[in-house]
């Protein structure tokens, strides 16, 4: 549905995008995961045709968006990273204005705004000025404003930055609902929990490049990262320890604890438990340290996702 081909963008000599390509299928939830400054917003801006790339192109339904900007814009909703609302307007006035720009008939728009306010739990506060809202409430309206024209495609640029857990959960629920209803969503974030929770596929972006892409499972297996489990035994003789370690190369002993490096915990953990009981040692505790996007990112770039 959306094809992004080799986007490049340089700001005053600084190369922000160094050839970004990816495809998004209809109804897919695609996550762009990367740290601050990776180029997420620049990519979204080009995809929303408010910024021209130095080279490369974006096709929506096979059509270049630079060809018919208006059609592409009518088809997409964009949630900007900033809270782009008029503080002196109420939530209702903001939504009325932003919705009116997308040619929704007035009566229909009013109905949709009421639904949207209910959906985001702000109906009772609809006539309060947005500048009096909490960060989380503003974020909710910021998202709602992008949805009033019922777009087929939504780009969300870090839509949950800096808000309370309650608002965050509400937003997550709405986003999941939209996904279930078949909306195509491109979601940028630097929270790996979000990428793991929602995304059908994830593109890991760093330094203007997509360095990995795939489903969470694909990323995990491709990363060849071992997962670590730490088994604490009641009592451990040297011979017993030696037997276990020779069976699982890469494992190491520290007093009566053994750390195993595994590629698939689910498959290999039962074997460890069985082997332990065969040689007559009692397991006190098992600690699992799973591979996640954070460790994958660390492995790929040597950096933390969050600074």
């Amino acid at each position: 549905m959306i094809e992004i081909k080799n986007l490049r963008k340089t700001y005053d000599g600084h190369e922000a995008l160094k050839g970004i390509s990816f495809n998004i299928r209809e109804g897919e939830f695609y996550g762009l995961l990367g740290p601050n400054g990776a180029g997420k917003t620049t990519t979204i801006s080009i995809m929303s045709s408010i910024l021209e790339p130095d080279s490369g192109e974006v096709l929506i339904n096979g059509k270049n968006i630079t060809g018919d900007i208006t059609e592409a814009k009518q088809l997409t909703g964009v949630v900007p990273q900033e809270i782009a609302l008029y503080g002196d307007f109420s939530a209702f006035e903001n939504l009325s204005f932003w919705g009116s720009l997308y040619n929704v008939p007035n009566r229909e728009l009013k109905q949709r705004i009421e639904n949207m306010l209910n959906l985001f739990g702000l109906y009772d506060r609809r006539h309060d000025k947005v500048k009096a809202y909490s960060g989380g409430m503003k974020r909710r309206i910021n998202i709602a404003a992008a949805l009033l024209h019922q777009p087929k495609i939504v780009f969300m640029d870090e839509p949950t930055v800096g808000i309370d857990p309650q608002s965050r959960n509400l937003i997550y629920e709405v986003i999941e609902q939209l996904h279930q209803e078949g909306m195509t969503i491109v979601y940028t974030t630097h929270y790996m929990e979000e990428a793991e929770r929602f995304c059908d596929r994830i593109g890991i972006i760093d330094n203007g490049q997509i360095i990995e892409e795939g489903t969470l499972q694909e990323l995990k297996s491709r990363s060849n990262l071992k997962e670590v489990i730490e088994v604490t035994y009641d009592k451990l003789e040297d011979t017993q320890a030696g037997e276990i370690i020779s069976r699982w190369p890469g494992s190491s002993r520290k007093e009566n604890k053994i750390s195993f490096l595994l590629t698939d915990i689910q498959k290999e953990l039962p074997g460890i438990v069985i082997k332990s009981s065969e040689i007559g040692v009692t397991i006190n505790n098992i600690e699992i340290q799973r591979t996640n996007l954070e460790t994958i990112f660390l492995n790929l770039t040597g950096k933390q996702l969050r600074d």
Binding site: I50, K73, V78, P80, D88, F97, L101
Partner: protein, 421 residues
Amino acid sequence: MLKLPIKDLKLFFKDRPSVLVTFAVPIALITLFAFAFGGAGQGNKENKISMQIADLDNTDLSAKAIAVFDTLKNIRTNHVSYEAAVEAIKKGKENSVLIIHKGFADSLETGSELPLELQYDEAREIEVGLLQQSLIPTVFRLPFSLGNPKAVMAGRFEKLTENSSPEVKENILHQSDNLFESLSQGIAENSGTTDPAGAFLGNEIKMTKLVAAKKDSSLGLIQAVSGTAVMMLLFSVVGIGMGLLEEKQEGTLKRLLYAPMNPMKILFGKMISANIISIFQLAVMFLFAALVFGLELKNHSTGLLITIIATAFACSAFGVFLASFAKSRQQVQGLSTLIILVMSAIGGSMIPIFFMPAFMQKLAVISVNYWSIQGFYDVLWRELPVFSTTFLSRILVLVLIGVVLNFLAVIMFKKNILKMN
């Protein structure tokens, strides 16, 4: 597509401080200036006011009198023939001529009323008022400095005691030497404008309107309203234009750009709302002056409306232009204040143009203020018809300023404002 300007207008009226700046502050300033100029413009001592002198007496004494006028520090005299003087006034080049009529020398000798006359252009009553203030004390003293003081005294006393009883006349005549001493001493000591001795002597200049203004509405008031209104309009219009930069900084501009419409509509929307607010602001200023100070608008509504619209157009373009080429709000703030103050100073918003030296008056044409204020003068003071070339030429200049600045704003908007991610 009026959605954008309507949104801007709604936001504008929700923003109390900016409504206050747009309406309350200019009203306060207009009131201040109206009183200042209404009081015949005291306190403008640095600038000399020009005055023509025509000597019809042609005597030694009249020449001496002219020499005295030449030394006055507030007046720049200009010796010309009467005909040339009248011509210059009618053309609006000069404001007045002091005529020394035949018999001046005789009157000095005999102490009778001096045949002095100031013919003037009523449209310039503020200047002429200042002239009068400077002239009168000098004229009072002329009989003492040039004439035969004793004869003058005697003549005056005779006139003053015309209707008195013979005893009083006798009494005064008896004391006349004494009186003369003390009076001339008083005159010598007193060089201020309030001259009791002079007042007692009661010499006057006959004032003749050579070019009469067609009504008695106050020039000072028109100056106060139009000068202040244009200056304050420039300030508020820069504020509206800065809304563009604010939208950029807040991110709402980005969201506007996401929408399926031509991005230029964002600029056009700002221009439209700036024009509407400007017209509204100017209209309120003139209505205020009409209601509170009795400025006569009734018969000038068409011309006034044309001038208001042309002024609003030029000023709005200025505001949008400034905002479109600046990088940040802070930058516009400093720059615009400087530009507006300079334009207002040279364009006649603060000090009336006719108080300025000639080269400043020439410089004034580079400001929006000048054309607009002159337009208001044309309509409200000179009462020129709407189709007169003088008036239309000012409107044309305002429209041209607006067109050029709007055009530049479009170019800069594409170049600067739209450059974002």
